[in-house]
Every structure is written in C-alpha cells, then in structure tokens.
C-alpha cells in the first residue's frame, strides 16, 4: 500500500471508526439505589482509588422490571465498557482491578487478591440471609449468630494472614482491591451496623481498615457518596 493511502486510511479510521480510541473507555456501572451500596461498592472504590471516571447509574426497585431483561443474567451490577456488557460483581471488580494496577504485581498476587475478594463475596452471601429476614426478632437472632459464628472466626483467620504477610496490606507490599473489599465490607457494613467491638482482638485488620478509609481518593469518594446518597447509611 502507498504511504499516502496508508495514512489516509488511518485518518479516516480515526474519524469514522468509533472503536478506534486513544482515550479512556466509557464506563457505566448499573446497580440498585437501595439496599446500601452492596455488591457495586467494591467497583466504585476501585474506580475512585484509580482516579478513573465512571457513570454511576442507580435505579429504583420500581424501574427494575424494565431493566432486568436487558441484563445478561437478569442481575445487577453490570458494567458497560464502551457499550459492551460485563455481569457479576466480582468479575467486574476483578477486571477493573487488573486494568488499573490494583490486582497485585504478578499472577500469584493476583490469585491472592482474588481469594480475598471471594472471601468477602461469601461473607456478603452469608449476611444476605439475616438481611432478607422479615421477622425482626428472628432477624436479630440470625445477625447475632452471623457475628459470633461467621464473622468472629473469619476475623481471627484474616488477622493471622495479615500478621504472616507483615506489610500492612493483605497481598504483597501495596494496596490491592483485596484491601478495598475488606474495607467495604468490614467498615462500611459490619462496623456501621454492629459497631467496632468485633475488631478488638484484630489490631492489624483495624489498622488496615483505618488506612484505607484515610486514603485521599477513598475519603473523597466516601464524603461525596455519603452526602449524595444519605439514604444508604
């Protein structure tokens, strides 16, 4: 091909081809506006920490029947990346973490990061049981059991891992989405709902949560969202 034709081709590609991009992808994260933050928050924290712009689409439960059939698996969150759709909260978080340097420095650290994110997924699933309980007395009982059975033993285990890693972070020597996931669950949900007593024998976990909370980009995000979405608190 002549050089001239080559450059003309490239030029017209840039002008006409929407997928030929130099710029950041367009991200749209879709989730309910209630219950509190839930399964979309980790991705929002990743976006915020990485300083990546995204459209934080929130819809009400009354709008859900219309939105549901448009999703790949009738569930949210979903992430639109330049119009292509990814479902499953962890797949979304993992994709963003890897893309924006929050997934560990090598394959092994990425696997460790995944492991911690999946721990939180299990804890969220376990919390969903009392969360969904309509009878207030039964709910109180279930939450109590959840704290003493599930949370207590997990806190002991993760404190041990933090001690073993000995860097202040869950994985390797720097912040990963794993730390953000633990912050989101333990600080945003557990601590808010049950108070900080469960952390009394977990100084390393407490220290990690406080460290994440104080990160400039995280602080900026939480202050913004707490004022914009007070109903979540």
């Amino acid at each position: 091909m002549l050089i001239e034709t080559f450059y003309r081709q490239i030029g017209s590609e840039i002008v006409t081809n929407k997928s030929f991009k130099f710029s950041m992808p367009v991200y749209k994260l879709h989730y309910f506006n209630n219950p509190r933050r839930g399964r979309a928050e980790l991705s929002r924290l990743i976006f915020s920490q990485a300083g990546v712009q995204f459209e934080d689409v929130r819809f009400s439960h009354s709008e859900w029947p219309n939105i549901k059939p448009t999703t790949p698996f009738s569930q949210v969150p979903i992430l639109e990346v330049d119009g292509q759709v990814l479902a499953q909260s962890n797949a979304i978080a993992r994709y963003l973490a890897r893309k924006y340097g929050l997934a560990g420095k090598d394959e092994w650290e990425q696997a460790q990061t995944d492991m911690y994110i999946e721990n939180i997924h299990d804890l969220l699933n376990a919390a969903a049981v009392p969360f969904m309980e309509k009878d207030p007395a039964k709910q109180k009982e279930l939450y109590q059991k959840f704290m003493t059975d599930t949370i207590a033993s997990h806190v002991v285990a993760v404190e041990k891992q933090l001690k073993k890693n000995n860097t202040g972070y869950l994985v390797g020597k720097q912040l990963t989405a794993a730390d953000l996931a633990y912050y989101a669950f333990f600080s945003d949900f557990i601590e808010v709902k049950f108070g900080g007593a469960f952390l009394k024998d977990a100084p390393l976990l407490k220290s990690l949560i406080d460290r994440v909370k104080a990160l400039p980009n995280i602080k900026k995000w939480t202050e913004f969202r707490d004022s914009k979405y007070p109903e979540e608190n």
């Binding site: 990814l86 394959e107 995944d114």
Partner: protein
Amino acid sequence: MVHYKLIYFNLRGRGELARLILHHQEVAFEDFRFEREEWTKYKTGTPFGQVPVLEVDGKPLAQSNAIARYLARQHGLAGQNEWEQSQADMYVDCIYDLISGTRPIIHESDKEKQKEILQKFLKETVNPHLEKLEQQLIKNGTGFLVGKSITWADLAYYSFFSPMTERFGDSVMDNSPHLKKLVEHVANIPQIKKYVETRPKTTL
C-alpha cells in the same frame, strides 16, 4: 516444574473445576482427597477454615474460584485477552452462585421437603439462568461460552450441569440445546473422558 497439591474432600463439589482444568491441560498434580470424617484433622491447617486449598510449591491459595482461575491463567484456559478473561470470570461466577443454591437442597434431610426445594430451585433459579445462557451461546455463535475456543468457563458449566443431569435426568437441559451440545462436547474430550472414567465415584 512447579508442584501442585490440591486439597479437598473426596467429592467433586467445589474442587472439581480445578481438577478438570489440570486434566484438560494435562498438567500433573497431587489430587489429595480426604473423607468428611477427617475434616477436623485438616481444617486448622487451611488459611480460612475451608477447602479446596491449592498448594503451589507449598504456598497455599484458598477459594475454589481463585484456585481454578489461577490454574486456568497459568495453563492457557482463561481466554485470549482481558475482555474474554473477564467474560469467562463472569460465567464461572454464575456457576458459583448456582452451586451455592444447591446447598440448602443437599443439606435438607426430609425427602419431601428436599424435592420441594429442588423444584423451586430449578424453576426459579436454574431455568431462568439457562434461558439467558442459551441467548449468550447463540450470540457468541462458536459453540463455546467465550471466544472461539474452550475456556475454563465451559469446563465450569460441564462440571455443574453434568452431575445435575446425572441426578435429575436429561430434562434439566431440555430447553437448552446449545448448552447440552457444549456439555456433551466437553464430556467427550479424551483427557476429560479418561479422567471421569478413572476418578473416584462420589455422590457429590
């Protein structure tokens, strides 16, 4: 050569996907299995009181999907690029949710109640998922869930739906011809077939 030791119950359950990945890619590993009664012996040695655990040259990794994903990535079954990898992740996460949905059924001792919960699970969870899945398979158009070739996502669907049909009959995939074809395809892969023929026979 890195040494893999996969530690799990002598069950398929949440350990089977990792085994299938390793067998499919013909990677040697120590398939360490123990019976339920021995669980307390091994529990305290795990990072979070759970199995499966994968030891890679002695270093432990927990969480069934983190393990399977690590192996899939290390051994070329994770998808051809970042986007395909995330799509494969998405599908495996769907299977994780379905496996979690079977737990109340498995743990129900009353036979009548078990049947009831199972029917509810099939009707409200599995069938709607399969409807959407068929659409995705048709849309991808290659016979595989992601891209043009097999990924661990296809093995994950085989790993869940093959025992489902074993237990509840072929009708499970009656309305999912594309998934049925995919599951059959995986079942007939020589390395998978050989492993399935020789693995310990377990109820779950």
